[in-house]
Symmetry: C2
Subunit: 513 residues, 2 copies
């Protein structure tokens, strides 16, 4: 057993059994050790941003970390943006970052860089295993740290010699931390304030948007209290039989208009809502003036217990409102729009499906009809770094091989991590990728006006438009190994999406909107 | 004039006139200001790694910085790997990184992260322009810092409010630092040591591999001294009429075998050579035991002056050996190999062409015949982070619109920044992209054995092989807007490459090797 074996054995002993990888020379011992432990599933990604986003999708769907295998500082750098998103989703991930042998670092070879500094801002824990005998214990510590609460990406740096030298240690079992429930006193303070408030609102985030929490939140809705969620949610069930809270609006002024008159905001697994971006003369903090704020449960605490206790304290009914099942009987007709695509998606989405949403301006049109589709999960873009729709879907499909996964993407977003299509083909994942091709960074056309920058002229237009040349998405997807079709009408999309849901395996649909 | 105008005006006043960009909301003021200053050419890249690699290619060919426009920490992260390469190439680059408005940072909005920390390891200078009136002076400082010497990427963080608020300052002219020549004393010490040595070697890197330096180095070769370069070079002329030094071998044991008996190594614009990676029981430092080492000129100093002074001190002739012009008369025949492709490339490469080389295991086959082709420049992968062949070519083509640019790539490398093909199509750049498709991370199959990891089993093979499914590169390239052809024989490649050199505009060739 060498250090690489010690690492993999400890990871497997702690139920870390998926490895999204793009290795290089410094990771060859880890790669070789995979042959000796078949419980760890290696998934090759042709770009590290695919690997890290896949680990995020896997973690969101299993509540267990996957590991990534990354090649020194630049390999981590390629995966950084989706780890930023994962940090904002509080997803446990074990990044294994290969490094030069400990004695080789001092020579500043071409691939050398300051890995601890680069990984710091998007890691909730960082350690380098600088001797082979330290690897198992540090790996267990990494697993434990990744769970938080509230969880997040950790970075375990593995020097090449720690991997190749003999290691005598046995696998170490990690301590998995448990969330503490909020105190009875904290619940009482909130209950009292809610009773006293004229217009209270509960705002749910992180763990408080999961199924068990929504059951409790629905009781509070039944008792007459308004419940909202953060704008972008790591994972939330949706559809028939599920309680659907409202959602904080994306644009700050719309959010504040929606909250007009609210005199108490109660945070459940979240913090003060703020605008996604600042704009001249618009608010940053999305809490009405004079509104009191209280925290029922922090992101570290158990929001399910907190919501249940609060519902009990307020004498809420044992259950609350849930969504009905209601989908269109017939195919939508006419030009293909995100709204029309959404109607078809809602018609055919099977129970237990997983939607990975990186569709930016097209997403709203899909959300509305899917609110009454068969029950499914939605994974959204939590950190604003586009290019996660394909990677998340890979991870979700590896985590839940019996579920249909639907990846919704803007064309600008999809191009960021277009390499993900190949991994879907290689692993024969049951993912249907939809790219809404408007050949534009449409959101930026909207944002340009909002930032007071005026209308785009010739130079600005060159940076917002994707239409010259138009990407032939079907050609790209086929080239990367996926069956692919372009839909230009609502009817065509309805047929294509129905077929994708009826057949197993990866599919690609270009939605020409 | 607002802060964004102040930035662009100062950049243009200092001859920074190309902007490789992928903007977001926080950069909309910069985008809008581009409309008011047409001297700055905006080039949209669909992924930030394309933008940073393009800025590297531009900087290598002009010795002036381009700027990038990146969207907060994640946007920079996407460009990090190619900035790692640029740092190792000592290329001046001005990264303009948009950030939240200064007053909005405290709220930790979803796209917030610790930008100064993330950018630190790959920046030779970092500053945030936190008021609009500071922008022009800080921009001039950034330009100055990017020149070094020896130059490198700098990071200018531009908060959204510094961009949108009025700025009263005029453009500021940057001080461009000049390299100091090594002292006469330093030259004398080296000259004396060389005369005394039995088997001296000069090792050239950074500025010492450029055309003017090679003219002086050839004089030393003519005087009987062996001249080598670093293994990976930012920019080096090659071909007929050019002095071609030897090259440090990639594998450490081969390098040391090549240097056997050498008793003096003289560094010219470089430092102690080290192995690219460490391996069990193999050397890290590639200097023979007991060999003396001296520095003629550091990377900060003027190596051209140093080499000229040394050649004078040693009484070297006024000129030295250069390569003859010698290319194959006829097309190679039979199966397509990198060697056969190299013969064809050498046959048709026009004078003044620029080869951007990210072809890993296929590169050696091309280098040999091109050593006697018409004179051209070669830009290599300096930092080991693959995925730079396409981006470098974009930058080189923008920098030198009258030159043919040839981008040579492994298939694993090309997939990293495949988005670069679209920018070539949009900008109608005169780039011919060759992808050597062996459907494997071939180098890792070699490295696996060298690291003592044994032969790949089923899991390891899954991480080294790209052949299931085989990427249809022609389909991918056509989908991204390039005319594309697949060549399976040497004859087919010869015809395709001849045509690509005869016609202007972007072309794609899949070399099925």
């Amino acid at each position: 057993m060498n250090g690489a074996d010690a690492l993999i054995e400890t990871l497997v002993a702690n139920e870390v059994t998926a490895c999204f990888a793009n290795p290089g020379t410094s990771e060859m011992q880890f790669v070789s050790a995979l042959d000796r432990q078949p419980a760890m599933r290696p998934v090759l990604c042709l770009f590290e941003g695919v690997a890290t986003g896949a680990a995020d999708g896997y973690g969101r769907m299993t509540d267990k970390p996957a590991c990534t295998l990354l090649h020194l500082g630049p390999g981590y750098g390629n995966g950084l943006a989706n780890l930023h998103n994962a940090r904002r989703a509080f997803t446990p991930i074990i990044n294994v970052i290969g490094d030069h042998a400990t004695y080789h670092r001092q020579y500043d070879a071409p691939l050398n860089s300051d890995i601890p500094t680069i990984v710091g801002p998007n890691s909730i824990w960082v350690k380098s295993a600088d001797t082979p005998d330290s690897v198992a214990a540090i790996a267990a510590e990494a697993v434990s740290a990744s769970y938080g609460p509230p969880g997040g990406p950790v970075s375990l740096i593995l020097p090449a010699d720690s991997a190749w030298l003999p290691a005598s240690t046995k696998p170490v079992v990690a301590n998995v931390p448990v969330r503490a429930a909020p105190t009875g006193e904290a619940v009482d303070v909130v209950a009292k304030a809610i009773r006293a408030a004229a217009k209270p609102v509960l705002l749910l985030g992180s763990q408080a948007t999961r199924a068990e929490a929504l059951v409790q939140a629905s009781r509070l809705a039944a008792a007459g209290f308004r419940v909202l969620t953060d704008t972008f949610i790591a994972r939330q069930p949706r559809g028939a039989g599920v309680f659907q809270p409202g959602r904080m609006q994306y644009f700050g002024e719309a959010a504040l208009a929606d909250l007009q008159g609210v005199d108490l905001m109660v945070y459940v697994g979240t913090v003060t809502p703020v605008a996604f971006f600042a704009y001249p003369d618009r608010p940053s903090v999305l809490v009405p003036e004079g509104c009191e704020t209280l925290t029922l449960s922090t992101r570290q605490e158990d929001s399910v217990a907190g919501l249940a206790a609060l519902a009990d304290a307020l004498g809420a009914p044992a259950s609350g409102p849930v969504q009905p099942l209601k989908v269109a009987d017939a195919s939508p007709t006419g030009p293909l729009t995100p709204q029309a695509a959404g109607v078809s998606i809602a018609r055919y989405l099977p129970e237990g499906a997983i939607i990975c949403d990186d569709s930016v301006t097209s997403g709203g049109g899909v959300a509305v009809p899917c609110a009454t589709a068969k029950p499914h999960d939605v994974l959204a873009l939590t950190g604003g770094a586009i290019g996660i729709g394909g990677p998340l879907a890979i991870g979700a499909a590896v985590a839940k091989p019996d579920s249909k996964v639907v990846s919704l993407n803007g064309d600008g977003s999809a191009m960021y991590t277009v390499q993900s299509l190949w991994t879907m083909a290689r692993e024969k994942l049951d993912v249907t990728v939809v790219v809404f091709a408007n050949h534009s960074y449409r959101i930026l056309n909207i944002e340009m006006g909002r930032t007071g920058s005026g209308n785009p002229g010739p130079s600005a237009s060159k940076l917002l438009d994707l239409g010259d040349p138009k990407i032939d998405w079907v050609s790209v997807a086929k080239g990367l190994g996926l069956p692919a079709v372009r839909c230009e009408t609502a009817e065509e999309f309805d047929v294509a999406f129905a077929r994708a849901m009826a057949e197993p395996g990866p599919k690609f649909i270009e939605a020409a909107i």
